[in-house]
Subunit: 317 residues, 2 copies
Amino acid sequence: MTGAATVAPPALRRVAIAGLGCIGGSLAGALRAHAPELELVGVEADPATAAEALVLGLVGAVQPLAAAGAWAELVVLCLPIAALPAALATLAELERRPLVTDTASTKAVVCRWGAERLGPAGFLGGHPMAGREASGLGAARVDLFAGAPWVLTPADASARQRFAPWRALLERIGARPLELDPADHDEAVAWVSHLPLAVSAALAATVAAALETSPPAAALAASGYRDATRLAAGRPELSADIGWTNGPRLARALRAARGTLDELLARLPDADDTAAAGPGGDRARSRLVEWFAAAQAGRAAVIDAPPPPPSERARAL
Amino acid sequence: MTGAATVAPPALRRVAIAGLGCIGGSLAGALRAHAPELELVGVEADPATAAEALVLGLVGAVQPLAAAGAWAELVVLCLPIAALPAALATLAELERRPLVTDTASTKAVVCRWGAERLGPAGFLGGHPMAGREASGLGAARVDLFAGAPWVLTPADASARQRFAPWRALLERIGARPLELDPADHDEAVAWVSHLPLAVSAALAATVAAALETSPPAAALAASGYRDATRLAAGRPELSADIGWTNGPRLARALRAARGTLDELLARLPDADDTAAAGPGGDRARSRLVEWFAAAQAGRAAVIDAPPPPPSERARAL
């Protein structure tokens, strides 16, 4: 919490959004809807996307990053992780530096880059827990962030103080700001976001490889297959950036998942006709019911978890 | 295909549906809507469900299985796999046996049970490729089977001939009958249905176990986590029955999935700061892009697969 002695900085008036894809476009739309007094400038390399954003009125102008950064009080980088080092370098060269925040899926590496270029109070790591497999401005939704946690990883109290107006804007668009240490964020998303992505992709790759030996398989794929592999349909570059910048934590989660698969394997009967084998078959079935019931309860524990207490949402670092 | 010399049996008039849960209830509703001339009788052990089915007009009466089987021309067993042996035994004892089919998720074991009790032409294995995690009559939907493949596994040409009227009814409710050998069915669903179920449950169990060491994880779970684990929310008994009666094929699929996870593990950088390591980091990223792109393409190959040709839908056995 900011102490009583600190004076909140004034509200933001000029915000630049770099990258008008699904996240940047949704953010521009949400700010337009909920903070209409803001002036918004976009940064977008693709001319067609830039033109569409202007036609839709999402931003008042599209400019190169250096010009937008010199004009803005705050720049939100909604760019692929691999594009962040160059963008941060461009902003670091400005005479009057804006506040800079981002929306990338991993925070430890990105925040280190940010602090190196802009100082610990010049960059605020951010990660909205929302997204879609579809990408680009066409996938943007004005309510994408409504009700969704938006992780913020201030490096220190000074960063928290300087970025307080940005946090206030996030609350106005309906997001739920949640402060975390960058490493704690990366650990948490390794489990609930990056592991589902990796497992979903591994499932899709495994099934595809089986089509040769089981040609009818594709015709029998139903909604269960679709849902379980939905994350595999996302942009490979985004997934790769996650693995690239959160490798050790994702690897730990993957090894844990492999261990859980091994537990199930150990409970599967090794012959089809176990079912007809009487009491032994019943025991085999009970051990499987137990395993699947634990998984069902595990899902409920995550989904029914209460939101974190206010103290954790804005704890002192 | 049935030969020109065979005479199609007359259309069905009296059908019994044993088990008025999501599948049996949806089937009753679909038959009511698309074949209103049929007389339908339900078999249901739970009195509240039986009463609800009568109030909704899904069936004209609810009777014990022996009585319904003696009355019906065809009985559809929409029961848990573990309940099938006893139900088949009851029907086998009838003086005038009805045709019997089922809707269970595995077919090799079930068809063996059916043939043992009722003879190869007395039982037709069936499996609608539709379902929901929610269970019970409340989860039933009159359009659950519309457009969905409904696998049929006739033991021989005589079975195909005798069950032709049932196939005709399935076509009337909008399902797409697809003939397969029971073992081919079990192999195909091991990949596109049972593996997603098992992986989804393993993912849910793995993430739940991580909540102790990463308390913020639950708060950050978003739609990706929900979709990837949706199948884990299904009834543990149904999942267990699948593992119990399709164990070796599911085990093979699980080992393949484990191998795919190992491929990803081998491509993950072992330090967070690989990203800052220059050309080496770029190579690591490229190898990850490649892996995720293959997974994305694999999903598209399954989802965009053309439906099987008519010859495979009704091939000669």
